[in-house]
């Protein structure tokens, strides 16, 4: 859902980054926010002195949105994965920008809504206690995110064990252990770049019943 804007707009607010270039750095004061026009951006954080990927953004996404309303230290480092084109706006221009482009204001609301849901969904994974369930819930989340998937049937998720570990907030070896275990039970099939899940519904049921018991 890339923003449809004319070239004049890009001339004025456009910025470009080469692969591996930092767009902004965790803890740097943030006064600008960005709309992604093209390219991929990796968001990483240093957690316990290790770099962890928390998200990858692409066309139509917004970046640095937490600084729209007030100056905030950046909560993550944004690194260009490939050649990236962004529209960059200073907070001071926000009102003018919204007045002139109410369409963009509306888009921001949608992006924020999704962001909040996604963040909550990820938090739900982290709040689970057993590593086995965390890993299952990561797969559930990924399955739910893709509206084209048929959850009644076997499905294939484009995800690596490393990414699963990162979503689950676990060490890679631990996540790998859980995945291997699930694959021995023939619940999933492991590939280097994807995971095939036999019955995602079963995982969903398990996770949701455990979640209900968590507070009772």
């Amino acid at each position: 859902m890339a923003m449809i804007l004319d070239d004049r707009f890009f001339d004025k607010f456009g910025v470009e980054y080469s692969p591996n270039e930092i767009i902004f750095c965790e803890f740097e004061p943030g006064n600008e926010f960005y709309f992604v026009q093209s390219g991929k951006i990796q968001l990483v954080k240093l957690i316990n002195n290790r770099e962890k990927t928390i998200d990858v953004l692409g066309d139509g996404d917004v970046l640095g949105e937490m600084s729209i309303l007030e100056e905030q230290p950046r909560s993550a480092t944004a690194i260009a994965v490939d050649h990236v084109k962004l529209l960059k706006f200073h907070r001071d221009n926000f009102d003018a920008l919204m007045q002139g482009n109410p369409q963009m204001a509306y888009k921001l609301l949608i992006i924020f809504s999704k962001r909040i849901y996604d963040a909550k969904r990820r938090l739900m994974i982290l709040l689970l206690e057993e590593p086995q369930l965390k890993v299952m819930d990561v797969l559930c989340m990924l399955a739910e995110e893709d509206p084209h998937l048929d959850l009644q049937n076997e499905l294939s998720l484009q995800v690596t064990p490393q990414q699963v570990a990162s979503w689950a907030g676990m060490a890679e070896v631990d996540a790998q252990k859980e995945l291997t275990h699930l694959s021995r039970l023939d619940k999933i099939e492991l590939y280097s770049d994807k995971i095939v899940v036999r019955k995602i519904r079963e995982f969903q049921r398990l996770v949701s019943s455990r979640r209900k018991k968590m507070f009772s």
Binding site: I22, C25, M66, D95, Y106, L108, L127, S216
Partner: protein
């Protein structure tokens, strides 16, 4: 439920009887509502505690916005109290409305961004990141991380931003050196002595004063906080001990003086039989673990007093014994002695990694004495010291609790 359409806007208004459900948690729908008259209660479940939260919608306020816009299931149940009128908007209506009222968007974005920040905070605390941070120090650490790991381009970015935003801060000089070193193609100065390790091991860092916790001026002199721990041998004029007078008053004082070591027969028998300091230390630790603090204290003091100690391990034991002795005294309610022992430790071993532990227990003494301001001030010092460990976490928790009530 009755519906009507307003002629000029095309927006539907709907009447509900008391106790009606407008939508259930888990429903999927693209409708957004505005409360026009009556009352609506939103009931949701808190993610981290399972607690039920009820929120009342104010008149004229939107509800059901996020789930409709984000196209995900409702996260709350909306129920009416009393006869209620709501306006029902589909996404197209909402978009039209919003496009005419950018201020509404601004308000919503503020609410949304606060929610995002709260979730982010919870996430960080679960993942074990630190919650309270100094962005300048952290920014420098990001540079250090990338430099150490060979990502010089990223390191350079972080150091330059550090210089741009914090040219007068603690690591400015070091950041400048790093920038030059990287430009000269030098690798990270591995294990070089002095400032290369980002957290200088000083009991209290300079930015401590920015923390907003005011300490009594008497306990602070100049830029070196721990001047205040200076104590003439045997004298009672240490500023810290003076602070103690604030709460160790009258009757309490006599309580403190009552304590004697008379009941330490047990210690005597254990004491002489086996000689080594480490044996003594384990015995003391075992006694302390079973709350026999008086006996433990005696042993710790013996260890501290042992002469002719040369082996580094034994010296280390003497060091630790002093902290443990202070903790025992504190547990026994001998606050003044505890403070003197602990501050004496900091004075004697300013480079020890246990300085943080000592400060933590000093904070705890003030905490137990209900001297919240001082407790917070010392907990805050703990917080400002690296590395982040259990003491940082505990200090953080206590600060929060003290500040909340």
């Amino acid at each position: 439920m009755a519906s009507g359409t307003s002629a000029d806007t095309g927006i539907i208004s709907r009447n509900y009887k008391s106790g009606s459900i407008i939508y259930f948690e888990g429903d999927k729908s693209e409708y957004i509502y505005i409360l026009k008259g009556g009352r609506v209660i939103l009931t949701s479940v808190k993610l981290d505690t399972g607690e039920e939260i009820k929120e009342e919608v104010r008149q004229g306020e939107f509800f059901g916005v996020k789930s409709a816009l984000g196209k995900y299931p409702r996260e709350e149940t909306a129920q009416t109290i009393g006869d209620t009128i709501v306006l029902v908007l589909n996404l197209a209506d909402f978009e039209k409305l919003v496009l005419r009222n950018v201020n509404v968007v601004r308000k919503m974005l503020r609410v949304f961004s606060n929610q995002l920040r709260r979730i982010g905070k919870m996430q960080r605390s679960i993942l074990g990141g630190t919650e309270e941070i100094n962005p300048d120090v952290e920014l420098f650490k990001v540079g250090e991380y990338y430099y150490k790991n060979g990502s010089v381009q990223h390191a350079q970015y972080a150091y330059k931003k550090y210089m741009e935003y914090y040219p007068d801060a603690q690591y400015a000089k070091l950041a400048m050196e790093r920038i030059k070193a990287i430009a000269a193609g030098q690798p990270y100065p591995d294990a070089s002595p002095g400032p290369s390790a980002p957290p200088p091991r000083r009991p209290v860092e300079d930015e401590d004063d920015d923390s907003g916790f005011d300490d009594d001026s008497g306990s602070r002199r100049g830029d070196d906080d721990f001047d205040s721990f200076d104590d003439e041998k045997g004298g009672s004029s240490s500023a810290l001990v003076d602070e103690m007078d604030d709460f160790v008053s009258g009757d309490k004082k006599s309580d403190l003086q009552d304590f004697t070591f008379d009941d330490s027969d047990l210690v005597e028998s254990l004491d002489e039989s086996e000689g080594g300091l480490s044996v003594k230390f384990s015995k003391a630790a075992a006694l302390a673990a079973t709350s026999k603090f008086g006996d433990a204290l005696k042993l710790y003091q013996d260890i501290m007093a042992a002469g002719n100690v040369k082996a580094p391990q034994e010296k280390k034991l003497q060091e630790e014994a002093q902290i443990e002795a202070g903790i025992c005294q504190s547990k026994m309610g001998k606050m003044r002695e505890a403070l003197e022992t602990l501050s004496g430790f900091i004075k004697k071993f300013p480079q020890s990694e246990n300085v943080k532990k000592a400060i933590y227990y000093i904070a705890e003494i003030f905490d137990n004495a209900k001297q919240s301001d001082k407790a917070i001030s010392y907990y805050n010092r703990v917080l400002n010291m690296t590395p982040k460990d259990d003491f940082s976490k505990k200090a953080m928790n206590r600060i929060k609790q003290l500040q909340n009530g």
